[in-house]
Structure formats: structure tokens, C-alpha cells
């Protein structure tokens, strides 16, 4: 059998015919076959490749693609009402293939549409002539929740409202293309397109074909340069960032991915503040100016002060910054109004009025039922229509709210006739032609089958005009039905290849060759919220580890004694109980919750976190959850805890070995060191007490992972002085308080505010006496009172850090 991943080097010789059952429906355009039933030339290589492979080889290749997506952690959230439900990215493994000449025509037509949308936007938020001259109904615009009155009269920075657009297009039975909807608010999917391409590259590694596929990277580079150019116009040092609604958003993963890919900060509304009309990022070094925001937040949520007052994800004062012309937005607030379904009814005419030319690519025929003649037309042709909410910004096939298709109501609870409904609702409704889409090949249970599809086309404004992402993203319907209905949620997504006749040059995101001096990029600024999450990630990871060690010590004892009244067992149980951990369960909820909280903190800073580190935390959490169901008390649990400790060490190792020593790493490390020092002090307070039961000293040494060191250093039985010496005063034992305090001091020296006009800043001022005390102390000096005071001092450090850097 041939290696399934070896490139195509021999002439195609079919081992199977996967197309025998491929029958496009009559009257429907097909991407693979032309109207005479011949395979279109752009598909020839791919079809030949597939036919050379056995079903097992094909399955193995598809699994490679899936494995890539799983390893990269690609997910999306399918249902907004279940924010924690993460879904695997639904890749359809066979790409859609279009020839570059056809694609060029699509881009030309959509560039015209993009310019038109900019003109409409400028009018709706400017002079308002389209409405006052009767080309758009006043009540349609006034009734739209996306037309944001506070933005009227505010000119956008740089002169343009729209910078990034997406168009959902489909192919008619006659082979021509049409627009199903415009994505103007905050188009998503560009990052997924990159991952589609990476995964598809694993599935079809054949160089012959790949060399002719137009690359995506150049689009992103051009878009990034355009955003940075807009930011620079806001003054020196003004950065660009992505504004996210937060981790419960359905495309949060994509936002973190794009942020990393483009090297931009990912911010939430609360990371920003507005001072004197200037948008600033709250960072550990104080507020830093921001020039441009690429927002993924819907416009009305952007500012609770002047827009939706109930918004919890906005930045108070953002509209003020816009009004003063000191913040650029991609895209301007209020651009969602262009997505309104009813807008499609008017754009064809508006195109002629504003540009003198008809739309180069038509949009789906739409009638707004606020007009009497249009309403009558929709009523009389209801059998060929999709009737739905006029103000909705969803694409036609994403049926939400009350709707009717082909003359019958969808869903229940609606009485009366369509005609009565139209009369009663009138301007609340639009009728849209029930369109037929083209079909494209998908792999379905061992065969290739036709499925309907739409292509999402991304366009970015650059200094040279609109630049289009060449392919990357198609939505694929879940059934063979070629009406737009099959495109509803639950379908899949495919890569789109734009194929050239010759090899295309490689493109990467690397900047063009430098002219002039080499300039080193600064590592970037750290938002306070990100620092806060890293700090708490460190603390919760350490808290988890502490509990794991305590549970292991408990179960090792359990395995070694049948005396349930053993005072050591009782001591450990009490100690765990006081930490909120149930000592009777092998994997108590208190442990799982610490790990989950650590992972929650990591989730908030996923754009700053390596994929491996994230995967290690996820593995730790899943393993612990799995053990909760199976671990038995005694040896079994002790072994389970050892497994968890090793996984924890794996995470720590990734952080320690691989994480760049930037400010974020310091906060993470500070959190861990602080928590470990505190846990050691607490441990000594309880188990290094003179009055503690016999064997307590051993527990302290064991929990602190210092058994062997103790044997080698002291060669005697544990006593209070040896235990305190080793776990508190030893500068070389990583499990000693002094060691961790010195670490905290070293970290603090590199944190903002370390130097206060030649004197130590507040954090160091608090740390230095602690360090000095422990350096000169003898074991007897470290009484319970002193240990308690050290714990209070550590708590104080946390508060100082929060006050100085994390708010």
C-alpha cells in the first residue's frame, strides 16, 4: 500500500470511483461538474488524488486534518445560551475550488458593493439624504436598533466608516453569483479560514496542487498594516488592539487566534478607560494610549454611558473618544444597520442613485413589506418566498423569529393566513426570494456527495483599495436540499481554494525587508486584567498542588495503618477540612474547583498563553475529573495524586522552560511563589508545632517534598528545629519560605514601580524586611507568632500588588 501522505508522483490511476453516486439535482449549478457533466478543470488534480487513495487512506488523511484542529484547540460555541459548551470546528474535508479568473470577477463586483456600503453608511450617519429624499423609508431606519443615534454627525478617524467586511455569496442555477447578506458589524470567520487552510493542507499535501493555491497570509499582512497605519495617525505610541466581548462569545477562540497571529492585544471593555477623550489601556505601567480598536463587540454594547446602558462589556466614554476624533474603529459604531435584511430591498436602487451604476453582483431579491405594492407582491408570490423579520441582521437562511417559507409558517403558535400576517406586521417583515444554491462535493460515508454551499468573502480596506482574502471559508449545508434552508446551523465549513494556472509566490506575515536601521520591537504592554489573571493562575495552580500533596500524604498514611483513630490521620483530615477540601473523597470537589479556577484564569489570557500550556492544564483537569470516578482510598489514590503531580509539573515545566520572561511571566511566577510561601508557613504552623502528635514533623517534610533533602542534610530524626530550618530558613530549598521570599523579591525588582525615586517601591518595601528577618533567624526564632505574622505580610503583598499594578 502506498504511503497515504506521499505526494502524487505517478500518473493518476484510480483505485476507486467515489463519484459514481454523485448526482447534482437538476436545475442546480454544481461546483465540480459543468452543465455538460464534465469535471471542471480546476478540480481535476484533487479528484485524481482522491481516486488514487483507498477509503482507508482517505479516512487517515481526514483524521490528520481533524487531529491538527484538535491539537490547535480550534473550537467555537454553537449555542449562546450554553456558554460553556465548546464544539469542535466542523470542517468539511474537501475544499471548494474556484479558478482565479472567476474569483477576480467576484472581487471586482464586491469592491463596488463595499464602496457603496461606505457611501450609505456615510449618509446614514451624516446628511441623511437617502431618507430625506425618499430612497430609504424613514421608519425603517428609525426603527432599527442598529442605527445608533449618538453616532450621527461623528466623522470617523481616517475618513472611512468601514474597514473590514464580509459578504456571503451563493451561485445561481445559471452559474452567476449573488449576495445573500453583508457582514458589516464585526465579521467573524477570517481566523477560522486560516485554520481551515492549515487543516486542509494536512489532508492534501500534494505540492503540485498546493503551489497553485493563492495564499491567505498576504491579506492579513495588508489588513494589519492598514490598521497600524490608522493607529499611527493617532500619534506616536498609539497602538492597535482587538476588542472582544469575552470568553463566552461564540467566536472567542478565533479572536484569541487572530490576536496572536497578528501580534495585537486582545482587550475587553474593562481593559479600557477614556480620559480627556483619549482611549487608554489599563496596564501594569498605568494607562497607555490606544489609537485603533478592531471591535468584535456589537456597536450598541460598546459604551454603557451613551449606548445600551445595560451593557457589561463596554467602555464608558468610548463615544466621547469618537466624538473628539481620537479613536479609530474597525468598523465604526453603528455599521450593523447595513446588515438589516430590509436594506437589501433598497440597495439595488441606491446603487444607481449614488454611483450611477447598477450592482455588479445582484443581492437576493428582497421586498420590504412596509410598502403597499411590495406587500401585495410578497402576498401574491408567497409560495416562492422566505418571509421573515425586516430588522433582523441574520442571513436569510438563519431563520430566527416568526417566518414563513413557501407560503407556510415555520414553527407553531401562529394563527391566520399569511395575508393577514403581512397586513398586521407590514413594515416589520420582508419577503425574500427562496433561492437555490449551487452544490459542491463533500465526503459522506465513503462517497462523494453534492451539498449546497455559500462562500464568505472577506474584504479589507488598504491604502491601495479593497483587498480580498483569496478564499478560505465556505459554509456547507447539512443535507442535499439545495434551497438555502439547508444552510441553517448544524452544517459544516470548508476551505476555499482559489487556483491559479501557475505556481503562486510564497507569502508570509513577515514584514517586508527593512529599509534603514534595524529596529527591535518592544515586547508589548500588559493589560492589568491579563496580569491579574496570570497572577491568580499562579496562585490557583499552587493551591491545587498543595492540596494534591496533602491528599497524597493522607492516603499514604491510610495505606499504612488500620488505626482509623491515628492522630496523624485526624490531623491531616482536619487540616484538609479547614481548607474546604472533603478528606473522605479521594478526589474532592475542593481540588477540582482549584484546578478549574486556574484553568478559568488561563482561559481569560489565552491569547498570551502557549497552546501546549493550555493543553497541559486541560489534560490535568480532565485527568482529575476522570480519577474522581475511579480512585479508591489508600494506595490507589496516593498513586493517582502522584500522577496529578507529574501533570502539574508538566505544566510548570512548560511555563518555566518556554514562557518568555516578560511582565506576564513575572505575575504568574509571583502568584505561585506567594502562594507557596504562604502554604509552607501554614503547614509549619500546624505540623511543626511542639504540641503536634508524633509524626507530624514527618508529614510537614513529606508534604513539602523534602524527605530526601532532610535525610541528607541532618541525618537525624525530624525535630522542630530541623524541619523549620529546612522548610522556612533554607535559601537553597525551593520548598522553603526564605527561598520563595527571595524569589518574590527578585521578581518585584523587575515589576513596575520597583523604584520610587531611588528608594524601593511599596512592594519591595514590604518584602525586604521579611527577607532580612528570615535570613538571620534561627529555628527557635520562628515561633507561631512570627509564622502568623509572615502570613499576614504575604497577604499584604497581594494587596499592594493589586493596588499598584492590577486595577
Amino acid at each position: 500500500m502506498a504511503d497515504p501522505l506521499s505526494p502524487l508522483t505517478v500518473p493518476p490511476q484510480a483505485v476507486a470511483d467515489y463519484l459514481s453516486g454523485y448526482h447534482p439535482a437538476p436545475g442546480v449549478a454544481d461546483e465540480l461538474f459543468d452543465t455538460e457533466g464534465h469535471i471542471r478543470p480546476v478540480w481535476a488534480d484533487l479528484v485524481a488524488t482522491l481516486h488514487q487513495l483507498t477509503p482507508e487512506q482517505i479516512a487517515a488523511r481526514f483524521e490528520q486534518g481533524n487531529q491538527y484542529l484538535r491539537d490547535a484547540g480550534v473550537y467555537f460555541r454553537q449555542y449562546s445560551n450554553d456558554p460553556l459548551q465548546e464544539r469542535d470546528w466542523p470542517l468539511s474535508h474537501i475544499p471548494v475550488i474556484l479558478h482565479e479568473s472567476e474569483w477576480a470577477g467576484i472581487c471586482d463586483a464586491l469592491a463596488q458593493r463595499a464602496d457603496l456600503l461606505e457611501l450609505v453608511m456615510a449618509d446614514l450617519y451624516g446628511p441623511g439624504r437617502l431618507v430625506s429624499e425618499g430612497h430609504l423609508p424613514a421608519d425603517l431606519i428609525a426603527g432599527s436598533r442598529e442605527w445608533l443615534r449618538p453616532m450621527v454627525g461623528i466623522a470617523p478617524v481616517g475618513g472611512h466608516f468601514l474597514h473590514l467586511l464580509a459578504f456571503e455569496i451563493g451561485r445561481s442555477p445559471d452559474g452567476s453569483w449573488f449576495v445573500l447578506g453583508d457582514r458589516t458589524q464585526a465579521p467573524s470567520g477570517a481566523g477560522f479560514a486560516l485554520e481551515n487552510r492549515m487543516a486542509t493542507g494536512r489532508i492534501f499535501p500534494e505540492r503540485v496542487t498546493r503551489a497553485r493555491i493563492q495564499r491567505l497570509a498576504g491579506f492579513f499582512g495588508a489588513f494589519r498594516d492598514a490598521i497600524n497605519g490608522l493607529a499611527r495617525a493617532q500619534g506616536r505610541g498609539s497602538g492597535a488592539a482587538i476588542l472582544t466581548p469575552g470568553i463566552s462569545n461564540d467566536t472567542y477562540w478565533e479572536q484569541t487566534y487572530i490576536a496572536r497571529y497578528l501580534g495585537m492585544m486582545l482587550l475587553e471593555g474593562e481593559d479600557l478607560l477614556v480620559e480627556n477623550g483619549r482611549a487608554m489601556v489599563r496596564t501594569i505601567d498605568g494607562p497607555q494610549p490606544l489609537g485603533v480598536l478592531w471591535r468584535r463587540v456589537d456597536g450598541s454594547f460598546a459604551d454603557p454611558l451613551e449606548l445600551d446602558g445595560a451593557s457589561r462589556i463596554g467602555t464608558p466614554g468610548m463615544v466621547e473618544a469618537l466624538r473628539q476624533g481620537r479613536l479609530g474603529l474597525v468598523n465604526a459604531l453603528g455599521s450593523g444597520v447595513l446588515e438589516m435584511r430590509a436594506m437589501l430591498a433598497f440597495l439595488p436602487r441606491i446603487s444607481k442613485i449614488l454611483t450611477g451604476a447598477p450592482l455588479a453582483m445582484p443581492n437576493i431579491a428582497t421586498w420590504w413589506c412596509g410598502g403597499e405594492a411590495e406587500r401585495a407582491h410578497v402576498r401574491d408570490n408567497a409560495a416562492q418566498m422566505l418571509i421573515g423579520p425586516a430588522f433582523s441582521c441574520d442571513l436569510p437562511f438563519d431563520l430566527g423569529g416568526a417566518s414563513a417559507l413557501g407560503g407556510t409558517f415555520r414553527g407553531d403558535g401562529r394563527h391566520g393566513t399569511i395575508a393577514e400576517w403581512l397586513e398586521a406586521q407590514a413594515g416589520q417583515l420582508v419577503g425574500q426570494e427562496a433561492v437555490t444554491l449551487s452544490t459542491t462535493p463533500v465526503w459522506d460515508e465513503g462517497r462523494i456527495q453534492p451539498r449546497p454551499m455559500t462562500v464568505r468573502v472577506f474584504a479589507a480596506r488598504t491604502a491601495q483599495g479593497w483587498r480580498f482574502m483569496p478564499g478560505g471559508y465556505a459554509r456547507i449545508g447539512k443535507s442535499g436540499d439545495a434551497t438555502a434552508l439547508a444552510m441553517q446551523r448544524g452544517g459544516s465549513v470548508a476551505d476555499v481554494w482559489i487556483l491559479s494556472d501557475q505556481d503562486v509566490p510564497e507569502e508570509t506575515l513577515a514584514p517586508p525587508p527593512q529599509v534603514g536601521e534595524f529596529q527591535r520591537q518592544s515586547p508589548g504592554i500588559l493589560p492589568s486584567r491579563a496580569a491579574d489573571n496570570l497572577f491568580w493562575l499562579g496562585r490557583y495552580v499552587e493551591r491545587g498542588e498543595d492540596v494534591i500533596r496533602l491528599i497524597r500524604a493522607l492516603h499514604l498514611r491510610l495505606a499504612g495503618t488500620d488505626n482509623t483513630a491515628d492522630p496523624l490521620l485526624t490531623g491531616l483530615r482536619t487540616y484538609l477540612t479547614e481548607l474546604g477540601v472533603d478528606p473522605d473523597l479521594p478526589v474532592p470537589a475542593g481540588l477540582l474547583q482549584r484546578i478549574a479556577t486556574a484553568r478559568g484564569c488561563a482561559a481569560q489570557v489565552r491569547d498570551r498563553f502557549s497552546v501546549d500550556g493550555w493543553a497541559a492544564l486541560g489534560d490535568l483537569e480532565r485527568t482529575a475529573q476522570g480519577m474522581a470516578a475511579t480512585a479508591r482510598p489508600g494506595d490507589d489514590t496516593a498513586r493517582a495524586m502522584s500522577v496529578l503531580l507529574r501533570k502539574m509539573a508538566g505544566f510548570s515545566g512548560l511555563v518555566h522552560e518556554n514562557m518568555y520572561r516578560f511582565a506576564g511571566w513575572r505575575f504568574l511566577s509571583f502568584g505561585r511563589a506567594l502562594e507557596r510561601a504562604d502554604a509552607l508557613a501554614a503547614l509549619l504552623l500546624r505540623f511543626a508545632d511542639i504540641a503536634a502528635p508524633v509524626g507530624s514533623f514527618d508529614i510537614a517534610v513529606e508534604v513539602a517534598d523534602s524527605v530526601i533533602t532532610h535525610q541528607r542534610r541532618y541525618r537525624v530524626e525530624t525535630g522542630r528545629d530541623t524541619v523549620v530550618d529546612l522548610l522556612a530558613l533554607d535559601a537553597d530549598n525551593p520548598r522553603a519560605i526564605l527561598f520563595q521570599i527571595r524569589r518574590l523579591r527578585a521578581l518585584a525588582e523587575d515589576l513596575p514601580g520597583a523604584d520610587d525615586h531611588g528608594r524601593p517601591g511599596p512592594l519591595l518595601t514590604a518584602l525586604l524586611p521579611l527577607e532580612a528577618e528570615l535570613r538571620v533567624a534561627l529555628p527557635d526564632d520562628l515561633t507561631a507568632e512570627r509564622l502568623t505574622a509572615i502570613r499576614a505580610g504575604l497577604q499584604n503583598l497581594s494587596e499592594i500588588l493589586t493596588a499598584s499594578c492590577l486595577r
Binding site: 430625506s132 424613514a138 431606519i141 428609525a142 443615534r149 449618538p150 480620559e275 454611558l305 446602558g309
Partner: protein, 292 residues
């Protein structure tokens, strides 16, 4: 009649509050019915930034911000207003039945366009029970203005003034169901009722003379900022203002501060802060004829 008006609104926070920004709609705007002689808004502690602008609906709007933590804020407005006499009154409104066609013929989206005020707004959406109530107030052949008056009167009978029954976040549906509330609730329910029968309607905030002329009863709502309703009565007559709390046209005893689709558009003080604790606030108003 020239009035001196003094308004004081204060807030106290349980904990020092960081990043306080507020947006204020407190300064009256001159128009055909009132001329503003002076208006001075003072804020204590003095904010670190302050800018005035005119919002979409033409209201004087002030944004202020503090760059340090604050524990209490006092907003004081001192203004002298000449409330001009209303012109002689004629009902020029079209029959209610003809209003829809009249409305459809109105193009443009200038701030006074009735189209802003005909559909649902953030705090006032159509309500079946309120629309039914409004329909019951109508009789055949009524003009729009007659309908506005009839509905205002009926609401005044239906709702009881009760300063303790509702909060600023009470919905029109709740206020209508419990049959009591303050001027904000009266106004919101009346707006819902008018929009329900196709009459564009909006919210007006302002002041009401504290002590009435001799021989007349003291009106409800005079001890704090007041609210009433504006209704669109066709292109000739334009907007008329009615106070359902006191069952009368908003005449010479009324001074306007701001107009919008509902309370959300005219919030006198709207603030955002980063704070752990709660807050308390108080308000006092005096509107008296000027002594000259």
C-alpha cells in the same frame, strides 16, 4: 413668567469609586416656549474633565469624569428661565384615522421627525393591554389631539400617584398592572398607549412650579424633576405636550430640560463607576417666580 430654578442632586458611595464618568442632561435649552437667561451647573468635587455637547434630540448634554477616586458627588443647577406664553390654541390635528397616511408621507430623520417616536424604544415597547386600554378611550371621528387628551385623562383616572410604588427601572407594564407610580410611570404608560394606536409619542423631562398661583392646588411632582409626554398631532399642529400625572397640558408652569423617546434618552444623571459598594442619592428642586 420668569422663574428661578434650583436643582440639587447628590450621590454618596459606600466605597471610594474609581473611574467615575457621568453624562448629564440637566441644562435647559431655549426654544419657542422658553428663553434661558442663565444656567450654571456646578459639580463638587470639581471633575477632572468636562465637556458640553448637543445630543441627537437637541438636548444640552454634559460629560464629566474624575481621574481619582471619589466618595460623594453633588450636582447643582441654578437657572433663570423666561417661560413664554403659549400661542392661542387651535386643534389643527388630522382625524386619528388619517394619521398613518400623514405619517408615511413624512420623510427625513431630523430630531423632531415623528418616526423616532412611533416604534418601540428601549424602555417603552408596545403592550397589548395598554393598547386595548387606549382603544377604549376613543370614539369615532376623533382628531389626534382629542385622542391624546382622552387617553391622558383616562390614564390619570386609572393610575394613582404613589412615590413609593415604583423605581426608575419599573417597566410600563408593571406600573400599568399595579395602577400606581410616579410621573415617569405615568409618562411611560401614556407613551405606550399613544404608540399603540399609532400616535408618535415621546418623553419630556423638566421642572414644574413648586407653589401654584394663589387659589390653585399644589401639583404632584413639583418637589423633584418632573416628566410628561409629547405627542405628534400631524404636520400642522406638530408636537403637543400633556402631563398625565396632573391631567393637563404642559402649560406656563412647565419648564423643559430634555426630550427623547423615553426616560433612557433623558436620564438627568447617568453614571458608570468601578466600585464595590452601593450608593445612595437624593434630589431637591425649587422653581419659583423670580423676584425683580
Amino acid at each position: 413668567m420668569i422663574y428661578d430654578i434650583r436643582l440639587v442632586i447628590d450621590y454618596a458611595y459606600a466605597a471610594p469609586s474609581d473611574g467615575v464618568r457621568t453624562i448629564l442632561r440637566l441644562i435647559p435649552q431655549g426654544d419657542a416656549a422658553q428663553s434661558v437667561h442663565s444656567a450654571l451647573l456646578t459639580i463638587d468635587p470639581p471633575p477632572d474633565e468636562r465637556r458640553d455637547f448637543t445630543d441627537f434630540f437637541g438636548n444640552v448634554t454634559t460629560t464629566v469624569g474624575w481621574h481619582h477616586p471619589v466618595t460623594a458627588i453633588t450636582y447643582s443647577l441654578q437657572t433663570r428661565i423666561d417661560r413664554l406664553p403659549d400661542p392661542p390654541f387651535l386643534d389643527l390635528s388630522p382625524p386619528l384615522a388619517a394619521l398613518a397616511a400623514t405619517l408615511a408621507a413624512q420623510q427625513g430623520l431630523d430630531p423632531l421627525s415623528p418616526h423616532h417616536f412611533s416604534g418601540a424604544s428601549a424602555r417603552v415597547a408596545p403592550l397589548e393591554e395598554v393598547t386595548d386600554f387606549a382603544r377604549d378611550c376613543l370614539s369615532p371621528g376623533m382628531t389626534v389631539f382629542q385622542a391624546v387628551q382622552a387617553i391622558g385623562q383616562a390614564l390619570h383616572r386609572r393610575l394613582e400617584f404613589d412615590a413609593a410604588a415604583t423605581t426608575v427601572d419599573t417597566t410600563p407594564a408593571e406600573a400599568f398592572a399595579q395602577g400606581r407610580g410616579v410621573c415617569q410611570d405615568f409618562a411611560h404608560v401614556m407613551i405606550a398607549a399613544l404608540r399603540g394606536i399609532g400616535v408618535p409619542a415621546g418623553y419630556v423631562s423638566g421642572f414644574l412650579r413648586t407653589f401654584p398661583p394663589p387659589g390653585q392646588p399644589r401639583l404632584e411632582g413639583a418637589d423633584a424633576m418632573h416628566a410628561w409626554v409629547q405627542a405628534w398631532c400631524g404636520p400642522e399642529m406638530g408636537w403637543v405636550e400633556f402631563d398625565p400625572t396632573n391631567d393637563q397640558m404642559a402649560g406656563p408652569d412647565y419648564v423643559t430640560v430634555a426630550r427623547g423617546r423615553d426616560y433612557g434618552d433623558v436620564l438627568p444623571v447617568h453614571g458608570v463607576l468601578r466600585s464595590a459598594g452601593g450608593q445612595t442619592s437624593g434630589q431637591s428642586v425649587d422653581m419659583v417666580p423670580a423676584e425683580e
